[in-house]
Symmetry: D3
Subunit: 131 residues, 6 copies
């Protein structure tokens, strides 16, 4: 189900189709996934989201695969199933091996576990952690 | 505040002190942070948590700094303030620069944003994401 | 799937059917959605939940559409897909336009983003925010 | 800090003071904690919340300590520090031992961990779990 | 505590101070809160976050107070204490009365409650909610 | 959908099949659910997760049904649908009656509600809750 119907190319406004084209060019594939097609009901929101994503996930001081793993980790903690699927696929596309995927699962699971323990114990941060 | 008082070395049971010593050796510092001192009320839980953390965060196919960034990302999404502080400190200890920290913030913020958009739009994963 | 089967009218106890009838009258429709039908396994819980919802979402100092948008925002942050779908439908039923829906998406996404940034930065509230 | 100032007895409206008195009687103590004092700015919300809490946490088919443990578990997962502290105190008041507290921590931590793993793996529920 | 120290005006880079000035102009006050001062370590992130916030929270088809209430609701569900304090203050600055605040609390509490019930019951969205 | 395909017995490595066999013995059933089959891509993670779960959920100072209810409560708050389904089934298997299920729903819903109210009110823990 969905709260808005993903738009096919010929249903989208010209401003939205221009973003679709930019996504295609940036990714080197004709496929535009449904997140962008659902956002296309509001071309300005689509444009702002895509431009920011392109900038944030673009070249910088953290390698692209690490960024995808971080993105996936946030998506897991937030329980966003679509995001988990799309960013797992993206991480694999950027070279994540099966062994790395297993190891990433272990790190995420460990973080979830100690997040729960820390919150349950209610301990304030140690003074040594101060910036 | 806290729901259990972190234990000083001379308040902890021998089984807990042995874990403290292992933490000191593994980290090359005499400092044992309050998370472990709070867990020391239950030496078996302290031991199991530490052993698993040491194994999960130890050498493998993902570099140590990436693991810390993933851990931090989960902690942010779960709203665990102590964990955010301790894993930011750990990431800096493993070489995270100011520029990388800023970039990590941007990735986490972007993931939070699109997690919200995706969930609000209610879209099911595209068939191409299937494993 | 579901952990309890939504009950049809003729499967529900008289106390539950009375709540179904009240829902029908309040909403001016014969349709009773599955949330209420699932709750009908425990007529007292069904009754308490419905009575409280009717009171909270009823006339007051905040207009009905704003209340639905707030409800939807909470549901998104909690990752409740059913709630996102039902309260998006309710907001549309109370007059939310496509443009307002897009704008609401943008506000929710922005809030998610800065929630993440603030938590990652670990900053305590400014003194000026004190009540 | 707080977004509303907890009200002392002589600052609260008569309808709010009546709830304070009911809390005192039900709990057998003169102490009214700040959650109720903060809610007292809206006596109707204070009344509705207290009445529902009293009913839900009152005698039934689940023993009082189990209910407190469940309440605490939800509060941990939601990252509500105040709630973690108040319901840990309540659970201890209802007989939770140190050993049970440690065991409860372990269960909560385990649940957090497998919640993360399951969400990261994206697996749909097995057919055998159908109600 | 904090993971980065909020920067005073004379510690911030010129690009960051320019954003501080823009915030002052837009809000008609000399006060710049610590969220922006903490972001100032990364002037590009500061700029991008502020520009997007200004656009999203600016004039549109949803009134400013409703937007603040939605922002606050998301912040509550995400457990972001700083955000709860800052957006409660902002909502009051935009005219939220004590009565509206109480009513907003009730709506948020109700949404949290039914989010939990719905997730616990595991019910898929009714077909009538389809977009 | 899923990010990794659950493995059938003859697709799993010997180390993973050994865990499947241990699960079968411990539970007295031939059925191994998909969570374990998905984890089987990483036999070490499968083994560590199962061993810890068996230990944590095993005999101790909290009865098995209470542990399942706590596990379910965390899963609801984290929005993990698979976990909600599997632990509801497990709780029923350990004797949870329909009446207890309804009562558990009420406790979880109440906790969600007051978690939201407390966070929205921003109140720090009372001094009397100090450990």
């Amino acid at each position: 189900m969905a709260t808005v119907r993903p738009l096919a190319d010929d249903e989208a406004a010209p401003e939205a189709r221009a973003v679709f084209d930019d996504i295609r060019t940036a990714r080197g594939t004709d496929y535009v996934n449904d997140f962008w097609r659902a956002l296309a009901h509001d071309p300005a929101l689509l444009r702002a989201t895509w431009e920011r994503l392109k900038s944030v996930m673009g070249p910088g001081g953290i390698d692209p695969l690490t960024k995808e793993m971080v993105y996936l980790a946030v998506s897991v903690a937030n329980g966003c199933s679509y995001c988990v699927h799309s960013h797992t696929a993206a991480a694999r596309g950027k070279g994540m091996t099966d062994a790395q995927h297993g190891e990433l699962m272990a790190v995420i699971g460990m973080a979830m576990q100690t997040n729960g323990l820390v919150t349950a114990l209610g301990i304030p941060p140690d003074e040594v952690f101060r910036a």
